[in-house]
């Protein structure tokens, strides 16, 4: 599975891709479409991406997550297109020898994804209106550099 897809996300596929007999812990995170946003009723959601950059950033984020937390496997796939309430917009799968690392890694990966990956949410409300959610500006210096809290010596990004 590539990193950006317009197909329904299937965590079981990512789990099979990452099977590893040395691992005792598997953490899966899924972001799912909620029926409300800041007090307004949401009917569905549309995600768009700038794919050339998004693919590269997600690939690098997988690698950085593994290096930073010492986890054995990390896969991230983000869906684009129209999503119904309850559907998963993103799936992160982490496997590691021990569970603490897997939880930390998965949480850092989704937090960082939200700051680095050129993807946008468009909320479609039940009243017929829609609005892009405001977001986090990307750094002009590249995907990895704008997040000063994430730039420590454990960072492994090449750029």
């Amino acid at each position: 599975m590539e990193h950006i897809t317009d197909q329904v996300l299937d965590p079981e596929v990512l789990k099979r891709e990452t099977e590893n007999p040395t691992c005792g812990a598997l953490v899966v995170f899924e972001g799912t479409v909620r029926n409300h946003h800041r007090g307004r009723q949401v009917q569905r959601m549309e995600y768009t991406a700038y794919k050339p950059l998004a693919e590269r950033v997600l690939q690098e984020l997988e690698e950085e997550t593994k290096q930073r937390f010492g986890v054995v496997e990390c896969r991230i796939v983000h869906r684009i297109g129209e999503l119904a309430i309850g559907e998963a917009s993103v799936v992160i799968v982490v496997r590691s020898a021990h569970r603490g690392d897997a939880f930390d890694a998965a949480e850092w990966a989704i937090d960082t994804l939200k700051q680095r990956v050129p993807i946008w949410k468009n909320d479609f409300y039940t009243d017929g209106t829609r609005a892009y959610q405001d977001g986090v500006p990307l750094s002009a210096c590249g995907s990895g550099e704008h997040d000063s809290t994430a730039s420590d010596s454990a960072s492994s990004r090449g750029s």
Binding site: A49, A54, Q133, V136, P137, L138, C141
Partner: protein, 79 residues
Amino acid sequence: MRIEFYGVLQEAAGREALELPIDAPSRVAHILEELGEQIPALQSHLPRIACAVGDEVIPRSEMVTGDAPLVLLPPVSGG
């Protein structure tokens, strides 16, 4: 030079892309200035956008040749 818009910028610009009549190579900062004059609805967005060519985010000080589109990326909201 071809300029491409993503996210809320498509709404603000009323289109997904445009050809800006500008000499290449040109500095990104200069291109954005021209763009803001042509499409005033983009003005308020420009301070918070990032610019990319291909799979690289580039600083505003960079010169671009126009061989590939200049891509404008508003604040991101994935996840």
